[in-house]
């Protein structure tokens, strides 16, 4: 057996407290004191449908306590469904707003942006709440004093609010004074000794609302202008850049990010002189941009928690956490989650070497079996001849009796225990490959006939996103 989740938002109770507030603080003028000064007495207002036990407690459990007059008692006379105010019951209103950042340590809101939320509100239900106020007075003059103060408030109605929450569209209503019953006594009074009570009847058109849905607002980092390609077919977004001409993606006002080392730089596309995507580009920036200023527009960066995601060519995302640079507002410190790096497609290499500038030692002549080097230049390349016309042989690489090593730049060579051999021929590898340099721990990518750091580089708009 399942139960409906409990829900109670004190909606009518809050209207009652506000109504009692409206009726509070009225005074009557009593006779002058001994010095001839005016004496005023505040008239208490309370809920008129008390329990018997609470009433006995207020009487101090004694017959001897005496009631104070004048007094006003408020009670609910009726609560009815208001058919005339019915609106579309299935209407859902959505409100998007951003809040200021609340600093838990100080207990105050800062001037920075905090969360961003979407609030969904279901159409509330209209009701008509009828309240009665009984005014008990001990003499006619006192009754007139009170009624004169009360009656001017309702012309024709008075606003009432159950809350000052900007989101609560049911909080505002109004109070109508519909009727005044002058007295519960009849004229002539006769032998009765009943107290004199005037009854005011009020009507409040209120709304009773279901709970709202509060959701974290999703920050739109990409906007696709068209979802159709040039042929009129739907673009397959899963395949990434389906039709670059038909669609346009925007990110943070077209800002570009350069991932370099352990930092992220923020720049505009036209700030960069080079169009290279290699990590070797020298990003001479025409203008520098503050991360702080950008992030302020969207929220609060939480050091070590906020993520920056960098979209890779294969559709995967590189994920890392960021923190503000302690001294340079234009840099973010980027801590990469190594698990999000692309998988290696090649066995790790021992080091990257320039074969034209190495010492001939044990690392070359008798290395450990399986030693692998990535070459920046060729070795004994076919066709290379010396001044005598003899083929240049890389005699140092392979011992006598073995064929000389011939390798091109960007090749990977491996020592198999006896001699060196090419295990990655750069001339015959058109596909993208990944390999990690064990000396530095840096992963490299083979693409477009060149090696580059696998993830560092420039990420244009739409290829990076910030998750606050």
């Amino acid at each position: 057996m399942s139960y409906t989740t409990f829900f109670y938002d004190h909606q009518i109770r809050r209207f009652l407290t506000q109504f009692i507030r409206i009726m509070s603080n009225f005074q009557v003028q009593l006779g002058n004191d001994e010095q001839g000064g005016n004496v005023f007495q505040r008239v208490p207002v309370f809920y008129g449908d008390a329990s018997r036990q609470a009433s006995q407690i207020l009487r101090s459990n004694s017959e001897n306590t005496i009631k104070a007059v004048p007094a006003m008692a408020v009670h609910i006379n009726a609560l009815t469904y208001d058919r005339e105010r019915v609106q579309e019951p299935n209407f859902v209103s959505k409100m998007n707003l951003r809040t200021r950042y609340y600093d838990e340590s100080t207990g105050q809101y800062t001037d920075q942006q905090g969360g961003a939320y979407t609030v969904e509100r279901l159409m509330p239900v209209p009701y008509k709440l009828t309240l009665k106020v009984d005014v008990w007075t001990s003499n006619t003059e006192q009754k007139l004093m009170l009624l004169e103060q009360i009656m001017i408030m309702f012309n024709p109605a008075m606003e009432i609010q159950s809350t000052d929450n900007y989101i609560d569209w049911t909080s505002l209503s109004y109070v109508l004074l519909n009727d005044i019953g002058w007295s519960n006594r009849s004229v002539p009074v006769g032998t009765e000794e009943s107290i004199d009570i005037a009854t005011l009847t009020f009507e409040l058109p209120i709304w009773v609302s279901a709970p709202a849905k509060v959701k974290q607002l999703g920050v739109i980092t990409k906007i696709v202008n068209s979802i159709y390609d040039g042929s009129g077919n739907l673009v397959n977004f899963a395949s990434d850049t389906a039709d670059q001409l038909a669609s346009q993606t925007l990110t943070f006002d077209n800002f570009t990010v350069v991932y370099q080392g352990n930092t992220l730089k923020l720049l505009k596309r036209n700030d960069i002189n080079s169009t290279q995507t290699s990590v070797s580009i020298e990003t001479e920036l025409k203008q520098r941009h503050s991360w702080q200023a950008l992030i302020t527009l969207y929220g609060v960066l939480r050091n070590g928690l906020t993520q920056v995601r960098l979209l890779q060519n294969n559709g995967s995302e590189l994920v890392g956490t960021v923190a503000f640079h302690p001294t340079d507002a234009t840099l973010l410190l980027y801590t990469l989650d190594m698990d999000t790096l692309p998988s290696n497609t090649l066995s790790p290499i021992t080091a990257i070497i320039n074969p034209q500038n190495i010492n001939v030692d044990d690392n070359l002549i008798s290395p450990a079996t399986g030693t692998r080097y990535l070459l920046l230049h060729g070795i004994g390349v076919s066709g290379d001849v010396d001044t005598l016309g003899d083929t240049v042989a890389s005699v140092a690489w392979n011992p006598d009796g073995q064929a000389p090593l011939v390798a091109n730049a960007n090749d990977i060579v491996e020592y198999n225990g006896i001699y060196w051999t090419v295990v990655f021929d750069s001339n015959s590898r058109p596909n993208t490959e990944y390999v990690t340099n064990m000396t530095t721990g840096v992963q490299y990518k083979w693409q477009n006939a060149s090696w580059s750091m696998s993830v560092e580089g420039r990420y244009d708009s739409a290829n990076w996103s910030l998750k606050l």
Binding site: Y47, Q149, T327, A329
Partner: protein, 390 residues
């Protein structure tokens, strides 16, 4: 021998015999009663002819001859001790909107007429207050260090039917008495101070009236209402407003003001971010019904005063206190532009309530003319009313 007759035109010895016996019965079997004697009304200095000012204080005076009621009553400071007899009955409580009332609270008590007149100078009348000493409460559920006395108001009085002797002359005065209420009429009695066992001076009202308890209850309800709605309208202070200028694109490029940008490098050590790097302050806030509170967007600093700051920077805010309601301005570099009026106000009736109606009802301002200082708030019937030359 004259014919036997107990009736005499005047109070005969038979009457006196009966009267003494009846008095003795009251002395022996009656309960002790303290009488708070009504003396008359107190002059209130009214110029209303329907509320005459009497030169002598008398029980015969009527304070308000329009409504025919005596509201401000004066009671003798002397308390008279008498004996009375009534039928004790069971009490039931009637739960009403004003709390519990004694359903059988009305009693009929008889007094010996001659003793009564001899003691207080007149018969007990409507408006006198009676204290029944034998109903004093010693074990009330409260923290007051004083017993609760039991008071009644005298309503109607007349001769008791059982008080006629064989001489046909009446001897007893029957009073209909009801429980006292804490009202304007009896404040002369209730405001009298008594010293409790703790040495504390308490008024009778503090001890036996429920007034303080009900005002405390009222205060608690109003306090919660003020928590729910501290001020009219809506609180938007926690809503973030983006820093931008209306009509301008949002771009952090605005943040840099360095001139020689071409010389900048990507070197993290380069100090290229200007010291004046900051966003322009918002020039708008969340709008809506009664959202103006005079607080700058995002809680940014505001200068308050009756003039604008002499040296202002673009984006500065100023709250002008000489405007009613106070008005928030923002300096856009050339002029002070109005942002909003602080229209939110407390809704609790009182002087802090700044609504239009409250501005009339709770107006405490004054004005001065050659005749002195006068309150601005005057009854419409009395405002600038011609006065007699003499």
């Amino acid at each position: 021998m004259p014919r036997l007759s107990l009736w005499k035109d005047s109070h005969s010895n038979d009457y006196k015999f009966h009267d003494r016996r009846i008095s003795e019965m009251f002395t022996i079997g009656g309960t002790g009663v303290l009488i708070h004697k009504y003396l008359g009304t107190t002059n209130q200095g009214s110029t209303d002819l329907t509320q005459p000012q009497y030169t002598n204080q008398s029980e015969q005076n009527i304070q308000d001859v329009l409504f025919l009621e005596n509201r401000d009553r004066k009671y003798d400071t002397t308390v008279y001790s008498m004996r009375g007899i009534y039928q004790v009955s069971d009490s039931d409580f009637d739960l009403t909107q004003f709390g519990l009332f004694l359903a059988t609270g009305t009693l009929f008590m008889t007094f010996h007429i001659n003793d009564m007149v001899e003691m207080i100078g007149r018969k007990i009348m409507s408006g006198d207050v009676i204290e029944l000493m034998h109903l004093k409460e010693y074990d009330a559920l409260n923290d007051v260090p004083m017993a609760l006395k039991r008071f009644f108001i005298v309503g109607d009085c007349s001769r008791a039917s059982e008080g006629f002797s064989a001489t046909w002359w009446p001897h007893l005065w029957r009073c209909k008495i009801n429980p006292l209420v804490d009202s304007q009429e009896y404040k002369d009695i209730l405001n009298k101070l008594e010293t409790a066992s703790t040495g504390e001076d308490l008024s009778l009202r503090d001890v036996i009236s429920t007034y303080n308890k009900y005002t405390d209850i009222n205060d608690a309800v109003v306090s919660q209402a003020e928590v729910n709605v501290p001020q009219s309208g809506y609180d938007t202070s926690m809503i973030y407003t983006q820093a931008k200028n209306s009509g301008e694109r949002i771009t952090p490029s605005l943040v840099t003001t360095a001139d020689n940008v071409s010389a900048m490098s990507a070197d993290a050590s380069a100090s290229t971010t200007s010291a004046d790097t900051q966003l322009l302050t918002p020039d708008a806030k969340v709008s809506g019904y009664l959202t103006g509170d005079g607080i700058a967007p995002n809680g940014l600093p505001v200068q308050s005063g009756i003039t604008f700051p002499i040296e202002a920077s673009s984006g500065d805010y100023c709250l002008r206190l000489d405007y009613s309601p106070n008005r928030l301005f923002r300096y856009d570099g050339k002029r002070w532009v109005k942002m909003e009026d602080a229209v939110r106000t407390t809704l609790t009736p009182g002087v802090q309530n700044k609504t239009l109606r409250s501005g009339f009802v709770n107006n405490q301002a004054t004005y001065a003319d050659h005749n002195g200082t006068h309150e601005q708030r005057q009854g419409l019937s009395q405002a600038l009313k011609p006065r007699a030359d003499n």
